[in-house]
């Protein structure tokens, strides 16, 4: 009796906790699920409320229609092109951010040069200046450089990243000085130290930052909206927005839902595929 009471209490506590978490999952996941359900019904079913809670039978038709020209009829550009555009932009942003923030963190942590701390603070301060704040001057620069409607124009302004620089800086600072000294004694110059020692040790961090930044790039809205005016250069998020800008009844909702599902899938794929590394990179302390 005396022993079972706390156990029971713990069990009911755990039950409540689980219920609470299940509730959270439902709240977050239900709209996503609903999008998927909608993408498998015909336009007529969607327009006639209430929308069924279970997937319908139109999935194959909707998806093949979307890929075989349905989307390009509305948005003027094929779904393939949209996915390719978005992939290029998201990859460009993620890889560009990793490259530039690793380089700057490497300089700040491992080199002594005049105004080193000033540089650090300059980078740090840009945290206070998100894209939206500096959007007008950035746009002007892009126009002057002739980068409107180009991939570099979509990618470059979003690459500079204080967050990733800080993350890499924190990680680099956990590398024991003696490891650097051992490498120096072994004859490794700055480049070799980076390539042979720092990079392999950073891989899990790189993976984590790649996942975060890929999703960040994939879901960009404001900047791609501004810097592209040709449909050919649209990202999938922009195309989605353009697809629904008709009067409600004219919107091909079934195709919009298909496009939405396809917009969600790649980030999910990236997270699932890199999950192990991602978690390792965020929690790992082992040196």
């Amino acid at each position: 009796m005396a022993e079972s009471a706390p156990l029971a209490a713990r069990r009911s506590g755990r039950l409540i906790a689980h219920l609470w978490m299940v509730l959270g999952v439902i709240v977050v996941a239900f709209p996503v699920y609903y999008v998927f359900v909608a993408s498998t019904h015909s336009l007529q079913t969607i327009l006639r409320p209430p929308l069924p809670l279970l997937p319908g039978s139109e999935a194959v038709r909707n998806y093949s229609e979307a890929f075989s020209g349905g989307v390009s009829r509305i948005g003027g550009v094929s779904l393939w092109r949209l996915l390719a555009n978005t992939t290029i932009v998201a990859m460009g942003i993620a890889l560009g951010k990793i490259a530039i923030s690793m380089a700057s963190a490497y300089a700040i942590v491992f080199f002594r040069f005049p105004l080193r701390m000033a540089c650090f603070w300059l980078i740090f301060i840009t945290l206070m200046l998100p894209v939206e704040v500096r959007i007008q001057p950035t746009y002007k620069v892009m126009v002057d450089l002739g980068l409107i409607n180009t991939y570099p124009g979509l990618i470059l302004p979003l690459i500079a990243s204080a967050t990733a620089t800080l993350l890499f800086r924190q990680f680099f600072m956990t590398i024991p000085d003696e490891l650097l000294e051992a490498a120096r004694v072994d004859g490794a110059g700055p480049w070799r130290f980076f390539k042979d020692i720092l990079w392999p040790l950073s891989l899990t961090n790189v993976a984590a930052i790649f996942v975060i930044q890929f999703i960040y790039g994939w879901t960009q809205y404001l900047w791609p909206l501004l810097v592209t005016n040709s449909n050919e250069m649209n990202t999938i998020v922009i195309a989605l927005k353009k697809m629904v800008s008709f009067a409600d009844a004219d919107t091909p909702w079934h195709l919009v839902m298909v496009t939405s599902v396809l917009a969600i899938l790649p980030p999910i794929l990236v997270v699932v595929l890199m999950q192990r590394w991602f978690v390792k990179g965020l929690v790992e302390t082992e040196k």
Binding site: P176, E181, A182, V185, A188, D196, I197, E286
Partner: protein, 353 residues
């Protein structure tokens, strides 16, 4: 292999001098140990030789070449770090081969050198393991191997054994000594452990507050310590050192007892007596009266800790292991006149008697 020459080497941090002019010549193949308490600058000195710390003034020569402005990799040295600093993502084999790979040595040569070092250090079964799968002693051996495969002009070791447990430390100490005999490598070894220092060194540098108090063979340091600091640092238990007033071949001890001793000069002196250089007094003989406060029995020996009677000066002396003396007993100790150490109370320097 090469000799190392330190010529008035100094180091300052932001105006504060921490190394005050070290002069030394280390012969080819010599094993020199830098020993001193923490904060005495011993590691800094080693790191200056390695090229990891800038030299403020003076010169360091390795093999007839002034290396002040050379990067560590240009100095032809190898170093073993206190926490080993193995590359965590490389296997034991890769760790050892890394420096050779950078030096663009042929694969065959790298392979044979690593194999040779692995055999010598008994690391063959672990060559493909990562450092985290190794014990502390094994990691230490990998660090040694990484340094040895380079066959450097000078081998530098920075407290390489201080992260090991006592038993392993003794084992590795013997192994290092043996390895030195086999390779004849010019070696500079930093430690705070006087046993390591005494057993490994051809010569010692005893450092205190950035000054080399004495540079000599271990035996010389033990028998003729150049200063009160060295006298107190080397030897275990530490030498008894106290102030006496000397006149006419006699000294007056703290507490008032008078002892006939061959004194170098009159006036106040610091007298140093090792616990092991003492015998019990014959009846009626002039002696140092000590009241014991505790007796440590080590089996072969026992050490009696107490005070000189009538004073608050503590005193240690070695007793036979079978001694039945105990706390509260009074003993009379007579110092061996062949092992007297006198130091100047002002400068702390040895006064030759």
């Amino acid at each position: 292999m090469a000799r190392i020459l330190l010529n008035d080497v100094r180091k300052s941090y932001a105006g504060t001098q921490v190394i005050h002019g070290i002069n030394m010549q280390i012969a080819d193949g010599e094993f020199v140990v830098i020993v001193g308490p923490s904060g005495c600058g011993k590691s800094t000195l080693l790191r200056m030789v390695a090229g990891l710390e800038a030299i403020t003034s003076g010169t360091v020569e390795i093999g007839d070449k002034v290396v002040n402005d050379l990067e560590p990799r240009q100095r032809d040295i190898a170093m073993v770090f206190q926490n080993y600093a193995l590359y965590p993502h490389m296997s034991v084999r890769e760790n050892m081969a890394y420096g050779l790979k950078i030096a663009r040595m042929s694969k065959a040569e790298i392979g044979s050198r690593v194999a040779k070092a692995a055999t010598m250090l008994e690391l063959e079964p672990y060559l493909d393991r990562k450092p985290r799968a190794l014990s502390g002693g094994q990691r230490q051996r990998v660090a040694m191997g990484r340094a040895l495969v380079r066959e450097p002009a000078a081998l530098l070791l920075d407290e390489p054994l201080s992260n090991l447990d006592a038993k392993l430390r003794v084992q590795m100490r013997l192994q290092i000594k043996e390895m030195h005999l086999r390779t004849g490598q010019t070696t500079l070894y930093v430690t705070h452990d006087q046993v390591e220092a005494m057993t490994l060194a051809d010569r010692l540098i005893v450092m205190n507050k950035g000054v080399a108090e004495q540079i000599a063979t271990p035996l010389e340091v033990y028998q003729r310590p150049a200063s009160e600091f060295v006298a107190g640092f080397i030897g275990s238990p530490a030498m008894n050192i106290f102030t006496v007033s000397a006149a006419d071949g006699r000294v007056t001890l703290p507490g008032g007892a008078v002892l006939p001793l061959p004194v170098p000069r009159g006036g106040d002196l610091r007298l140093g007596l090792r616990p092991e250089h003492m015998r019990m007094a014959e009846p009626g003989e002039a002696a140092i009266p000590v009241v014991l406060r505790s007796v440590e029995r080590l089996g072969a020996d026992a050490f009696g800790y107490g005070m000189i009677e009538g004073s608050d000066v503590s005193f240690v002396l070695r007793l036979p292991g079978t001694s039945t003396l105990d706390r509260g007993d009074r003993v009379e100790a007579v110092p061996d006149p062949a092992h007297l150490h006198f130091f100047d109370p002002e400068s702390g320097k040895r006064i030759e008697g």
